[in-house]
Symmetry: C2
Subunit: 233 residues, 2 copies
DNA sequence: CGCCACTTTATTGTCAACAATTAAGCTAAA
DNA sequence: TTTAGCTTAATTGTTGACAATAAAGTGGCG
């Protein structure tokens, strides 16, 4: 089997989740992150099973995985529901990010190799061009993710990477998606990224950690000031 | 119902998990933490279902929860197994702890009330007596846990608390249990705890964070020097 | 008219059988 | 003897039905 013109073993990746529960997890996750299923909404098992064309078994498993990602809350004998969108939860997430990504930046400054630094700089160039063309308006979206993603992976700490890139990542995405109506000026973010790379290049873990923490803390304060003025339900 | 001489609503706690999958999770978790199921060992579903007297459904759910706690690894179509006991994994865990508990200590210094500080001091008195009586030999076990637990809870950050006290907590316990043959001198830990309380009392978040991080970092270095000399499988 | 208890309904938790996939064992050919 | 391919066994993934629990609806009583 599997000899049908596939010389480079592409997509025969182990660890890939062909299972129904795995695919359902991804589908449900995206529906929640993009707001198709709204914050606070109840997750009805028979209805969702019908909707995603799976039986309740795999669906329940998918829901449990989303619970472990922090996207969903579950009460025994009552059911699961998407977490509500509350300001203090967002702040809590940013505090956790500040701690973890700060640590990651420090470790990255120690362990990053030349290739990874070059990749990081490439991202920065794209970011800079974007700022100049669009007068520093939006950006963020995926570009900022990639930047943080790369640094986290370079920390060489598998647990840290897993916590940030598999568990908390989608929670971050969800909050960002839901609050994307606030356009963040990315000139400042650009400058902060530049300083961070400088610290990493100079193998200065303490400075890298400090700058990353400040970077995230500022983003937190920004969101706080935006949302506290609204009557945030 | 429920009027049968239970005035204080004791144990009628919602959120309590009466379900089979919940109980199985706890049973399996303890078996892994205490080494009854050894690191690296495969988790055979039919065998464990028979052993714990449940069907495979709840058992699978329990296994998935342990995966989210980091105690178990799972590969699709192959199965789940207890994570192996490797030095670099332990170090990674201590780095994550350093970041998260450091943040928790800083937040605790801001938010802790007088009652909580008093409780913390009570723990310290017990710890000190223990040190004097037993010439500062072992301790740790549960006393140290309580100390950290109280500080984390006082951070008033639900996400942080959940990450540390529900997810990573049992992974810490497991590693500690497996490496408990190394008696840690707790005189130093006692002094570090005293300094930490001092910082919290004085509402000095920066110092509290620094001291907590140093406290955990030292524990990490201690374990590292112990295990690197052995031929750690 | 409002409140309490009971009945009904809907939803979650659990089970045992079936399907699909992987790993192990075996035979046969080089 | 080793290795490739096939066959068999064991294990995981999935399903639909059944049981237990909680929520919603209903009727009667104060």
């Amino acid at each position: 089997m599997n000899n049908e013109s596939n010389p480079s073993n592409f997509k025969v990746d182990k660890n890939q989740d062909n299972t129904l529960s795995g695919q359902t997890t991804i589908a449900l996750r995206e529906a929640i992150v993009t707001g198709k299923i709204k914050p606070g909404e109840k997750l009805n098992e028979p209805k969702l099973a019908e909707q995603y064309q799976v039986s309740r078994g795999p669906l329940r498993e998918a829901i449990r995985r989303l619970v472990s990602m922090g996207l969903v809350e579950h009460i025994p004998h009552v059911g699961a529901s998407v977490i509500p969108l509350e300001l203090n939860r967002i702040i809590e997430l940013y505090e956790v990010r500040e701690a973890l990504e700060g640590m990651a930046a420090g470790l990255a400054a120690t362990h990053m190799n030349e290739q990874e630094i070059a990749d990081l700089k490439k991202l920065l160039v794209i970011h800079r061009q974007h700022c100049e063309n669009n007068a520093g308006e939006y950006m963020q979206t995926e570009g900022d993710f990639d930047f943080h993603y790369l640094i986290i992976k370079s920390s060489r700490n598998a647990l840290l990477t897993q916590q940030l890139c598999n568990e908390l990542y989608h929670l971050i995405r969800m909050y960002r998606f839901q609050t994307s109506r606030f356009k963040t000026r990315s000139n400042r973010a650009l400058i902060e990224h530049e300083q961070l790379i400088y610290a990493i290049e100079n193998r200065d873990p303490a400075l890298a950690e400090l700058l990353m923490r400040r970077h995230i803390s500022r983003a937190k304060e920004s969101i706080k000031s935006y949302l506290s003025t609204e009557d945030s339900n």
